[in-house]
Symmetry: C2
């Protein structure tokens, strides 16, 4: 079994209103079953999900957190405005973002955006993935999957990895439950987060900084599915989340 | 930029005492800079890190946890014997394993092992990676990197992904700190856990169950480094770990 992943080269700097699907199709030759992996930052830019700190009036809470974290209180206010729950305020803000996953700073990104603007996460990663995927399929005639990615820190481990925050015809998880292992026992490890693994693989090629490659094609793995899928299938339900439970108890104590 | 990953096919079932390096070299043609990604299970088997539940006498604590978790109390005892700290006892045992990372059940694996034996994690993943890597380099004359993997659950997200628990000449993390983004600002996201991303990419091809491919070659990314590296560089230091802190407070309350 073999997998390939390659960058779609020479993607121009994306501006609000740009047609990402058309731009990708100009720069890549796709095949049936390909997985298009797209960094959420360029989607946020194309969708004009940018904002300035200039018009933000920080609350007393934001000013207090900003002082503790040595952070611009307007940025803190922007994060508070974009989350339904703040699990940790200091030394970093770990929150449940309104738009997607549990992450630092509600996914607000002040790198790789021009004119002192900050980028939000896409409003709905699945909708962005679907819109781009359908356009690419129309242009190319190929059936493809799309994974929109963000980078995310992890519990217990250092560094960030790519994760999926939007899916189109891409399986989120393989279920091994009930399948037999090599000796006929029932598998214990039952769920593999394949969409996140694809996001991680693509992130190896995306890079950061000025060498950024925001679009990667992954070929050779059976991620494509006819089913309608969502990145929300990767998010642990609140009542099954032991870590959230501990963070809430810890915050109250 | 392009990356390839492919399985090393026809690896036989590994038995205690088997020479994994020699077996890999019989079944793969390697190149300078390749990354050999190896599932920890076959290393544990080759190193005879297997044990039976038969001789384990569960303590009162293990019996109590086993009752709550509907789990064999001897397995619970085996997990307790293999961890320095148990963060969560129920409904799953989340522990700091003695041998490697924070994980469920201290990495004890009862799938894909014969004769009712369970597999431990390798005693020292880095040492295993180095031993195999040096032998492969001697046989092939190529300079290669090795990543030993386990699969691991995540906070806030469902499913497991591949992670690195042993490294040989493989960079654990790329540091983007101080590099400039496309617009000359200093990068905020400063560390990419590349070894874990490689483990995740390879895990897409490894599969689970009876289709398991325990060895994958990743080619085309600059993971190889002359430096001595360790998977421990991926583990968050205890005093910087907000999640561990919350779990400890939660457990006491």
């Amino acid at each position: 079994m073999k997998m390939e992943a390659f960058t779609v080269d020479d993607i121009p700097l994306i501006k609000p209103g740009d047609d990402i699907a058309a731009i990708i199709c100009e720069h890549a030759v796709l095949e049936d079953g390909d997985v298009l992996v797209i960094a959420s930052t360029i989607i946020a830019k194309a969708e004009n999900e940018l904002f300035s700190l200039d018009n933000i009036n920080p609350s007393a809470q934001a000013i207090a957190i900003g002082r503790k974290d040595d952070k611009d209180p307007r940025l803190v206010q922007a994060v508070l405005d974009r989350c339904s729950e703040c699990f940790v305020e200091s030394p970093v803000m770990l929150v449940q973002s309104d738009r997607a996953h549990v992450c630092i700073n509600a996914g607000v990104d002040d790198s790789n955006v021009e004119n002192d603007l900050l980028a939000d996460l896409p409003r709905d990663g699945d909708a962005s993935a679907r819109s781009i995927g359908e356009s690419v399929e129309e242009i190319t005639g190929c059936r493809i999957a799309v994974v929109v990615t963000d980078t995310n820190g992890r519990a217990f481990r250092l560094g960030q990895t790519g994760v999926a925050i939007g899916l189109y015809h891409a399986a989120p998880i393989y279920h091994w439950k009930g399948t037999k292992d090599l000796f006929g026992y029932e598998m214990q490890i039952s769920e593999e987060a394949v969409a996140d693994e694809v996001a991680a693989a693509a992130n190896l090629l995306m890079g950061e900084g000025s060498g950024g490659n925001p679009v990667v094609v992954v070929r050779g793995i059976p991620l494509f599915t006819e089913e309608k899928t969502s990145a929300r299938q990767l998010y642990r339900p609140d009542n099954m989340d032991l870590i959230k439970k501990a963070l809430r108890i810890s915050k109250k104590s």
